[in-house]
């Protein structure tokens, strides 16, 4: 009879999970390099990329599992999230960290990562995410850009017998099963740099157009938020690295 505790406090492996789509010319290579420093393996679902994303992923030894979808599930985000989850969990990981192809954990977070997973008191960890704006030196901090003021759950313990549930939504689906909210968690004062907006003005404008095309009535998000992408003078704050 299996007598292994459901919460191990030592020897836990950390698996990063990612969904990617045409990321070859953006931050993917740097993200995979960064992840390779502090996770044990990486599981990726490629959502029908047409560039060299898959080739790039395969070039990293820690990418242990990679599935390539022939048809994009982008417009059925719930299915894509759930697919990645089941694909990653099929090898019974200990802890999973959900990473987007433009997110970087600060050094301090990477240093503490093993402490965060080798304990038996909580089952998820929330981090503070910062939206970098126009480059890697400043993040945006104003009315519509304050994700860093709360925590985002990205690191979770996998327990095979728990009930995992994604709400069936087409957009803004939580990146990890919503049912983690019932489990004990830890809100870490550790930071993650999100570089999705750390791009040129022209690229941000293209993203704005994509948002408006996908959600013209603001059903999945706030129209004011979308419009604020075009703000001429957003409030930017200089990022300061913290060590230990």
């Amino acid at each position: 009879m299996n007598n292994i505790p459901v919460r191990k406090s030592t020897g836990n492996r950390l698996t990063a999970i990612m969904q990617v789509h045409n990321e070859a010319d953006r931050f993917l290579e740097d993200v995979l390099k960064d992840l390779s420093e502090f996770v044990d393996d990486i599981v990726i679902v490629d959502d029908a990329s047409t560039d060299d994303t898959v080739k790039l992923c395969r070039s990293f030894p820690k990418v242990k599992k990679l599935v390539v979808l022939q048809e994009s599930k982008f417009r059925r985000e719930w299915e894509l999230r759930e697919y990645l989850w089941h694909f990653a969990c099929s090898s019974e990981p200990d802890w999973l960290i959900s990473v987007d192809a433009d997110e970087f954990y600060e050094d301090k977070a990477k240093t503490h990562m093993r402490e965060l997973i080798n304990q038996d008191q909580y089952d998820w960890v929330g981090f503070r995410f910062f939206d970098f704006w126009g480059g890697p030196t400043h993040y945006r901090d104003d009315t519509h850009w304050g994700i860093h003021r709360r925590h985002t759950r990205t690191l979770v313990r996998y327990m095979p017998d728990y009930y995992y549930y994604y709400p069936p939504m087409d957009h803004h689906v939580p990146r990890l099963p919503l049912s983690y909210s019932a489990l004990p968690g830890f809100l870490a004062e550790l930071r993650v740099k999100h570089f999705g907006w750390a791009v040129s003005k022209e690229e941000r404008y293209r993203k704005y157009l994509r948002y408006m095309e996908r959600d013209p009535k603001g059903e999945w998000g706030s129209l004011d938020h979308y419009r604020s992408i075009l703000d001429e003078n957003p409030t930017l704050v200089a990022w300061k690295e913290e060590f230990q």
């Binding site: 009879m1 299996n2 007598n3 549930y165 709400p167 049912s179 019932a182």
Partner: protein
Amino acid sequence: MNYLVFGHAGFNHDRILNILPDKEEIIFIRRMDEKGAIDENTRFLSLSELVSLDSRKYTAIVSSPYGLQHVLAFQPLRIIACIPSGSELENTTLWNKYIGLLASYSDIVITESERTYLELTLERDRVFLLRDSEELVQRAIISMFKGEMLQEWVTKQWEARKQFYLTMHEQQGPHETICYLLASYLYFLGDASAKSYLGISFEQMIQKEYSQCLNTHFRFFSAIEVKAGDLEKAIRTYEITAITHEERKSIENIRSWQEQGEWRLIQAEIFKANDDYRAAIKVLEDMGAKNSLQAATMRLQNYLHTFRWKDALALLDNYALSDENRITAEVIRGNIHLIHNKHHLAIRTFLRASVEDWNVLANMNEIVALEEAVKGEFH
């Protein structure tokens, strides 16, 4: 058939009186300031006038838990407990204790509140809901008078409630409360489909951001797994919900029993963790002669929690007692004297036990509180 009503304002007595079989005489135990009879078959008596009645000719209808000591002293033919909804004005500890004792000493337990019905069903047998089911409850009462087993009627009511919520679910779609209640009745009936409705309920709770549902909802899967016979899965499921020090201690015990092959103890522990004391007690009682000291200790805890004091005392008398359990036995004896209206014996027993543990004296305060509560109800 004659009935003696120890009433409480929180229970609709007309509803129960309407379904009592073969009514001849109905007597209400009244407060001094209450008015006299309302019709020729109904009259009012004060507590002091009870001695004039032949107790074996009367069935007591008891909705006032504080009337219990007079009911037991009177020794009626049968006791029908009609559990009212708790009043905000009541002393909660005293109220819950005497509601528990009343249910324990009754031949049948009836309530109008589904919440109370479910709570009591998790603790004991012979519990009925007097809502949309007057005929069924009436037939159960008739069976009780004939001395028949009541489980058939209990099961019929679970079936009826299941059907009611199944219809609601079909009409309204996923809803956390409807699916939870549906899962509860399916669980009582031993139907494995309880799991899928509990799943829907859990999803709805999560989606509506009622995230404090790990113990109330997710843990319930462990009890369903025990009933379905998958004990390993039940243990792992329960372990996910074991967060506090006490819960982790419980898991340690379970893991140790797992190594010793003590499956019944594990079943009982998981049922208890799900507040299903009735199922836990049944498992432990079914162990019969195989009852280890551990099993007896667990039975004792469950008996005490559900106010089955006679069973607790019998168990304590059969086992070599530790000092702690010996004092517990004395406290139970004192309380049993108290609820049989033998106050002097109760006081003497408490005083004797207090020599070894002064905390027992708290029971003396309770005597005063109980007397005040009885005065409020009947004097």
